[in-house]
Each structure stands twice: as C-alpha cells, then as structure tokens.
C-alpha cells in the first residue's frame, strides 16, 4: 500500500457499496452488522410475544388469550429470545466485530465460514418463523418429552429443526473464535495482554463447541421420533423422558453462560474505561471466565430436582451449583475493586455498568436459592424462577449488550449518539426492568406458577405492577432504537477514541477500514494501561 493512499482509504461501510457486496461479504465487521440487524428483528418479535404475555396477565381471568394461544406465545417468546437473540447477541455482533481487531488480526481465521454461520442462522430462523406462521408451537422453549415427542399436535418438528440448524451457526462462530484466538494474534499480543472481552468470548466459544452439538442431536432425536417413529424417549416402548432433560440441560445450562459470559467481558472493558484504571486482578477475571465455562458443565441437574432424578445426584448437582458462585463473585468483586478510588466518569457507559452489576447481583444471588435443592422444591416452576433468569439474561445479558453497543457504537458506525438521551434510556430500562421483574420474585415466592394464562385474584397487584414495568422497559428499548438509528443519519462524526479507552480497536480510524489495520500492529503494552491512555474527546481532530 502506498503511503499516499492511507488517508483516503474508505471505511468498511463504504468499500464497496451495494446490497450484493454486503450479502456476499467476508469481512467480519460487515457480518457483525448483518447479525446485529437480524437479532434486532428477532428481539422485536420476541418482545411482541412478551407484550402479549404481559397484556394477558393484567387480569386474573384468561380473557385476552386462550390457554392454547397463551402456551404458544410464551413458547415462542422463549424460543425466539434464547436461540435467535440472546445466544448470538454479543458473540456474533460485538464479538465478531471487535475480537479480531482487539488481537490485531485482519479478520477471523475462516471468513467464509463466518458468513456461512450467518446464513445458517437465517435459514434456522426462517424455519422457526415458518412454524410460527403455520400455527405455532406450544411445548415451552424446553421441548420437554414426552409432550413434545408424542402429545403435542403443534409444529414441533419444524421448530425443532429450526433450532437444530441455528445450533450450527453457533458452533461455527465458536469454532472460528477459538482458532482465531490461538492462531491469529498479532506479534506481542500474548495471552495475558488480551483484553478480557477476548477471554470471555474464548470461554464462551468453548461452551458453544462443547455443548451445542449435544442439543443439536437431542432436538434431532425429537424430530426423528415425531417424523420417523424412531422413538428414544417414548415411555410406551420403555424410553425414559428424563434422559431428554439430561441431554437438553447438558447444553442449555451452559447456554446460560453463552448468554452471560460475553456480557461479563463487555462489562470488564467498560468498567476499566469508566474508572480510568487498570482492571483489578486481570488474571483472576480472565481465569474466572474459563472457570465459569467449565463448572457450568457440571451443574445441569439442578434444573431437574423434581423430575424423578435420583436424590443423590440432585445433592451432587446442588453442591457443585454453589461453586459457580465463586468465579462469578470473583468478577463482581474485581469490578467493584476496579471502580474503588477510580476516576469515575459519568459517561453513558457507566450507567449500563452500574445497571448490570446491580441486576446481575440480584439474579446471581437468587440463583443460589434455586440451586439449593430443598428450597427449589418450593420455588420450582413459579414466577420466582422466571424473575431469576430474567435478572440474569435481561438484567445481565441485555444490559451488557446495550452497554457494549453504546460503548462501541462510535467505532462501528463512525457516529456519536446523544449522551443525555442515552442516560435517560438506560435509567428507563433499569427502572422498567426492576418494576417488571421484582414483583415476580414476590408473587413467585407466594406460589404463583409460571405458564398459566389465569391466576388467583390475590396476585393481581403484582402482575399489574409487572405489566406497568414492562411498558416502561419497552419504551426504553424503543427510545434506544430511535436515537441510535437517528445517529447514523444525523449524528456528529465520531473521533478515533471518544472514550479515551485503551486497546487496539481505539487506535484505528472510526469506522475501521476493511482490513482493520494499515499495517500489522506490534503490541508492547499490557491491557488497560489507563496511566498512558489518551483523554476522552468527542471532537474530530482535523487530521483524522
């Protein structure tokens, strides 16, 4: 490349133009944008199902949706949100975009497979949407046998195949990330100089490649049982439906860590930036990601305490479940210690960091209630469980995703959004979320079961509060969508490093060029070297 060309080289967004150049792109950044658009659509679809659920639950009578329709709506809310939004959310968008840049690579190791993973996602998503249009699915997102394999008359086979196919997009992303981290790091980018976001995505990828194949084969067995009579879980021929749950949760419990680990990675980046400090206990935070990924595979039976699983096995699973709290607490304490005596700046990323830490803490601690076998028998299948996992997945996962999206938006789009609006939106989401889900802890503890469209009148006040909160939450999300889209059109141009952050991604232009770097960077400094970080600037300097 000639020196004179350097300044004129267009960003990845504009080189080249045209729809075909996007749909056939091998650029990890463009694929990240394709994923971002797709998951936003699915977030909206899943959100509409949530709105229908909350509308139904305003009154104790089942008057808005019939029981059958309600079953379909909560199933589709779960399937869409988990498989088509949360699992790809951070890894396939922010991870895809920034992981190669953070380690100084020009792209992921297998760019074509990266594009293939998006197409597989689209095919799986289309199949699942087809199941919705053909009349929906009513098994719950867990597809429990024997209901799913024998009894249900809805489109289980189509939806299961959709989930099966989408699983491969997740596998391919994980596999690409692992090879990239091992083989594509720039000179000087040692393992312990990698940003914690990369560590978190690496740990997530391990879960993806080790867990996802198991659920793929499991839902395939359901499809085979329904379509080809190859019964494996059918009790009429001597099958054990609980085996399905073992195989299902072997993936689906670690899948929770697919949703939360990348979020923890984002928060590690953000917390160092808003504190303007080296992260406290870097290697502990890094290894705790791996520890969560590994221990996460040993605890799946805590979803099955009341299924007829052996009580002894339940005890073992219950005790190991408590161990997951250790690496999670290591992270939380280290983030807090990072902020302690840090020069905390009141930028919008701080709001998401604090929101995440508060909500994740509540979600994590209530998880200990549910992991204790005796208490779980009381709380199992109540709204307590619903509140708990929403605190983790939405309070943790979505807050971190939105925080990361706000933090990296200037780099991804080259535009700044309105800081005051972002702060208002983050508060709306935080308060709306708590108003939605905190009452569910109480009503669940009082005994309200999940998955029913009607309930005793004494629970109404909590459900009205919850629906009111969901309205605020929805308004918050809508607001974010509006000002972010507006910023693309009318937002001021973003400088190279608006937050004064460290890391290779902030040393290249916003938005980056197709090959990320003009020349391969040579890394000489530790991660989060905030002593030598530039000051934040929202202005574009003349030479950029």
């Amino acid at each position: 490349m000639k020196e004179a060309d350097v300044q004129q080289e267009p960003s990845y967004l504009g080189a080249p133009y045209g729809l075909a150049s996007w749909l056939l792109t091998k650029d990890h950044k463009r694929i990240a944008i394709l994923y971002l658009i797709s998951i936003t659509i699915f977030f909206a679809i899943g959100g509409s199902f949530a709105a229908m659920i909350r509308a139904e639950l305003v009154t104790p009578q089942g008057d808005f949706l019939t029981a059958d329709l309600y079953n379909k709506v909560f199933t589709l809310h779960g399937v869409v949100m988990i498989f088509f939004f949360l699992i790809p959310s951070i890894p396939a968008t922010l991870g895809n975009f920034f992981m190669p840049i953070m380690i100084g690579a020009k792209d992921l190791a297998f760019p074509r497979i990266n594009l293939l993973s998006w197409y597989i996602y689209v095919v799986g998503a289309t199949l699942t949407l087809a199941a919705v249009i053909m009349g929906g699915v009513d098994t719950g997102w867990t597809f429990y046998t024997p209901y799913s394999s024998i009894s249900s008359t809805t489109n289980v086979t189509t939806a299961a195949l959709g989930v099966f196919i989408t699983g491969f997009s997740s596998i391919l992303t994980g596999f690409n990330f692992i090879v990239t981290v091992h083989r594509m790091r720039a000179p000087g980018m040692t393992w312990f100089r990698m940003p914690l976001f990369v560590w978190a995505n690496y740990a997530t990828s391990l879960v993806m490649i080790l867990g996802t194949p198991v659920i793929a084969i499991t839902v395939l067995l359901i499809a085979a049982e329904r379509a080809l009579h190859l019964g494996v879980f059918d009790p009429r021929i001597g099958g054990d439906p609980v085996l399905f749950q073992h195989l299902f949760w072997f993936y689906s419990h670690p899948a929770v860590y697919i949703m939360i680990l990348p979020g923890m990675g984002v928060i590690s980046e953000l917390v160092a930036n808003v504190s303007r400090k080296q992260i406290f206990g870097y290697s502990f935070v890094a290894f705790s990601s791996l520890a969560i990924a590994i221990i996460g595979f040993l605890v799946w039976g805590h979803h099955m305490f009341v299924t007829g699983q052996s009580i002894y096995a339940g005890l073992v699973f219950s005790i190991i479940t408590m161990l997951v709290a250790v690496p999670s607490a290591v992270k939380t304490f280290n983030w807090t210690a990072t902020m302690y005596k840090g020069a905390v700046v009141w930028d919008s990323p701080l709001f998401w960091v604090l929101g995440f830490m508060g909500l994740f803490l509540i979600g994590g601690l209530t998880g200990l209630f549910l992991g204790a076998m005796g208490l779980d028998i009381h709380l199992h299948d109540t709204y307590f469980v619903v509140a708990h996992f929403h605190y983790i997945m939405v309070g943790g996962g979505v807050m971190a995703f939105l925080g990361g999206l706000h933090f990296y938006w200037p780099k991804m789009t080259g535009r700044m959004y309105s800081e005051p609006l972002a702060k208002v939106a983050s508060m709306l989401v935080f308060f709306g979320f708590n108003l939605t889900f905190f009452p569910q802890f109480i009503v669940g503890y009082m005994g309200m079961p999940r998955r029913y469209h009607s309930y005793p009148a004494e629970f109404q006040v909590f459900n009205v509060l919850s629906t009111a909160g969901a309205t605020v939450l929805g308004a918050g999300y809508l607001m974010i969508l509006l000002y972010l889209v507006y910023s693309i059109v009318k937002g001021p141009k973003a400088p190279m490093n608006p937050w004064g952050a460290t890391g290779l991604e902030w040393k290249i232009q916003s938005p980056p060029i197709t090959h990320n770097f003009h020349e391969t960077p040579v890394v000489t400094e530790e991660a989060y070297d905030y002593l030598h970080a530039p000051a934040p600037t929202r202005e574009v300097t003349h030479h950029e």
Partner: protein, 101 residues
Amino acid sequence: MSSGHHVPTIGMCVRVWLALLVLTGFTIFIASQDLGVLNTPVALLVAITKATLVIVFFMGVKWNTPLTKTVAVSGFVWLLILFFMGMNDYLTRGWLGVAGR
C-alpha cells in the same frame, strides 16, 4: 511448527493398518467367547486402542503441536463428563428416599 511438516512413511501406515485389522479380528473372536462381565470392557479396550492408533498415527497427532494434542483429547474428556454426571443419576436412583413419600 516450522515448514518442515512431518511426512509419514509408507511402512508406518502399513504397520498401523495391519494392527487395526488384527485388532478387528481379535474383537470379533473375543465376542464369541463368554467372558461374563468382561466382554464389554475388553471390547471397549480394543476399540479405544484402535481409535488411539488412528488418532496418533493416521491423523498425525504424534507429530503435531501440544495444542492439537490437547484439543484431540478434550472432546473425549468432555464426553466423560456427560457420561459420569448422567449415570450418576441413573445408577443411584433409589439410594435415598424422598421426604414424605
């Protein structure tokens, strides 16, 4: 790691091939004998030996990086987690009663 990638010799390939055929014959023969509870462990031992031969020699793990060796082993180790924790349920059902039942 360098460009001097290991090229397997034909003699090595033939020896591994013969060993695999002999082991296949052995596993068929041993299955026709009644060893009581030992039939399955012996069959599995032979299968594991055969798989190891293929992985180490035909798939070239012997001459590969420590990372590849780790990856090659990790899948099987992870599978053991599924087997052990899963069978931990099936083998212990009925060990402990349920309170109130």
